[in-house]
């Protein structure tokens, strides 16, 4: 029998926080909360990596620490390079209480206000599915151009990411956001805005790399994610690559590598 659900305990110092941080997502290795930054009027995201009691404590500490630092380093580097990602506001990789009472590590980040691209595409696709038949050619063209524009901007942002020497490691449309512009307006009949700066989030599996292989796998993983979750948007993935190509010099070898990766799949081929 499963025990009654208990929300995970917050690490120090967030036991002091009023109002208490709101749990948004309880993932496999991290819990994401919404709270305030050091200025109570500005929201912040809090990512907690709790300790894993199944692991040997020394190993647990080493891994938790390594990973949260890795994530923070990638984010800080990207902020410095001007790539749009949530900035690191504060962190603690040691947890509280020293060796005996290891409570996990945390990372406080800038709060990004806006929808994730997954929702934007889902809403757009749903509307198009329902209404495409009643649109004329120029209206369809206009909608598809909007989507192309978004795809291109995504590609451009990914180009910036890779140029800065970071690979994301888990690119899905859930890890892409659109930062809401100050005045949200859309004249599209779909009511779905595609405006706003593309922001990359969740760098839990990110790493520093400039290898074409790693970069191509990043693009491939996104291509597959769009293919499996957004069938109507899939034909426009080419625009992601166009945006990527135009983002900086030297993307040619990565895009060439992407062809290889597409042929063999994400993993290198292996035996039995």
């Amino acid at each position: 029998m499963a025990d009654e659900y208990k929300p995970p305990a917050l690490p120090s110092p967030f036991t002091n926080t009023t109002p208490a941080p709101t749990l948004l997502v309880q993932g496999a290795e991290a819990h994401l909360y919404k709270t305030v930054s050091l200025d109570p009027s500005i929201p912040a995201a809090l990512k907690v990596r709790p300790s894993k009691p199944y692991r040997h404590p020394i190993l647990d500490r080493r891994l938790t620490r390594q990973r949260i630092i890795q994530e923070a380093r990638c984010l800080v580097k990207l902020v410095r390079e001007g790539v749009s990602v949530p900035a690191v506001l504060a962190m603690d990789w040691e947890g509280q209480g020293g060796e005996s009472a290891w409570g996990g590590a945390w990372l406080m980040m800038e709060w990004i206000e806006g929808p994730v691209v997954r929702v934007v595409l889902e809403q757009w696709e749903a509307w198009m599915k329902k209404n495409a038949a009643s649109l004329d050619q120029s209206q369809i063209q206009k909608e598809e151009d909007r989507l192309r524009g978004l795809m291109k901007r995504i590609g451009h942002t990914l180009g910036g990411l890779h140029k800065a020497g970071v690979v994301h490691g888990d690119l899905t449309t859930s890890n892409l956001m659109l930062r809401s512009p100050a005045q949200e307006t859309t004249d599209s009949p779909t009511g779905v805005s595609m405006e706003g700066e593309v922001v990359l989030i969740d760098f839990g599996l990110a790493g520093q790399s400039t290898q074409d292989e790693d970069r191509a796998v990043d693009l491939y993983v996104l291509e597959r994610a769009i293919g499996s979750t957004h069938p109507r948007s899939e034909p426009f993935f080419e625009e992601v690559l166009n945006g990527y190509r135009a983002s900086h010099k030297g993307t040619g070898s990565t895009l060439k590598k992407l062809e290889d990766v597409r042929l063999r799949g994400r993993k290198r081929s292996m035996i039995g």
């Binding site: 499963a2 496999a28 894993k52 199944y54 040997h56 891994l63 290198r268 039995g272």
Partner: protein, 367 residues
């Protein structure tokens, strides 16, 4: 209905007989017989020797299983065999035997994917309905979840299987392969205390063990803990301490053979639990089923149990009879396919070293 299952994809030869009663009551195991080819310490099992072993024993095992199950040849509905994946020569030995029996008895053949066999047997024994499956053995390391009539692979090893990693390190330490190397590593690990730092490679839901193996082999060599002599020395120490007060020697940070086994287990099992947890979060499942030979490891089961508990779920595992390669799992999965009308024509009754779990169309499930 009665199915006979024949398995020989690695060093275990297994023959099992399953009964699926007509009245729909739960399937019964009528016989589950296994004979293992054990190689000497420091050596792995070679395909040709293993194949020879299987050829020498298969007739004997089939006879014995029929006798034990108290069924006659006429009662058997189908002959299920392992089509793959596994080692070529041993697979071939068993498929030839199955084909012969099919012709001799005039019974249909059912080719079975070895991994699917593990999954179906695990589901039957534990009652787990729709678990995330961790399949861990000498040849495979996969995290699997069912979705629309396929067992889909969410994560897997990028190089060697976890059992292979354990087996090869057992060879390095010259640990006995009887009953199987992983068991003896587990026993030695119980005396280990000091955790040595080993490469921990998890990429998303995938793992890699080859770097870790190289590192721990290197440590064993560096501290003079590898090879036959060190193994003998260790054994003598054990012997002389029987009945006496256990003296913990000063180690000066030098790891013992037990420490290396302990560290190896702690590291590789943490990696496996981590990717399993990630898959559970991904598909929103609270059940885990561990199958495959490595699944009998108690430390792995314990760690998985803690993880599952913290997610409000539970872990399902089976004992050696079912998680180590056996014939009934082939009979069980084969029977499920057979009941949907599936058979393997003689012409197609081949075997293959590579046969991915997600290639099988799981017609017998519709959830």
């Amino acid at each position: 209905m009665i199915a006979i299952g024949m398995e020989g994809s690695a060093n275990k030869l297994g023959v099992g007989i399953m009964l699926h009663p007509e009245d729909g009551s739960p399937p019964q195991v009528l016989a589950n017989i296994r004979h293992t080819y054990v190689s000497p310490p420091g050596e792995g099992f070679l395909p040709k020797d293993t194949a020879r072993h299987h050829r020498a024993w298969v007739v004997n095992l089939v006879k014995k299983s029929l006798k034990e199950a108290r069924v006659s040849v006429e009662d058997v509905d189908c002959i299920c065999f392992t089509k793959g994946p596994g080692m070529g020569a041993p697979l071939q030995s068993v498929v030839v035997a199955a084909r012969m029996l099919s012709l001799l008895w005039n019974k249909p053949l059912v080719g079975v994917n070895h991994c699917v066999g593990h999954i179906e047997m695990g589901r039957l024994i534990t009652g787990a309905t729709n678990p995330v499956v961790l399949y861990v053995s000498g040849g495979n390391t996969q995290v699997i979840a069912y979705s629309s009539q396929r067992y889909r692979i969410f994560g897997e090893t990028l190089d060697i299987a976890v059992g292979n990693c354990l087996d090869r390190f057992a060879r390095t330490l010259h640990i006995s392969n009887d009953p199987f190397p992983g068991y003896n590593i587990e026993q030695l690990a119980k005396q280990g205390k000091q955790l040595v730092d080993l490469p921990y490679v998890v990429k998303g839901m995938d793992v890699s063990f080859s770097g870790l193996l190289a590192a721990i082999d290197g440590l064993a060599a560096q501290w003079g803990l590898d090879g036959e002599e060190a193994a003998k020395e260790d054994e003598n120490k054990q012997g002389s301490q029987t009945g006496e007060e256990q003296i913990v020697p000063e180690t000066d940070g030098k790891p013992t053979r037990a420490d290396l086994c302990f560290s190896l287990q702690e590291t590789v099992y943490a990696m496996l639990v981590e990717i399993t947890e990630r898959a559970m979060a991904h598909v929103g499942s609270k059940q885990v089923l561990i199958v495959g030979g490595v699944g009998s490891n108690e430390r792995l089961q314990e760690m998985m149990g803690i993880m599952a508990r913290d997610r409000g779920g539970s872990v399902y595992a089976t004992d050696e009879r079912f998680c180590i390669d056996n014939g009934i799992m082939i009979a069980q999965a084969g029977m499920m396919a057979y009941k949907t009308g599936f058979t393997t024509p003689l012409k197609e009754s081949t075997c293959t070293q590579r046969f991915r779990t997600d290639e099988v169309f799981v017609k017998w499930r519709d959830d």
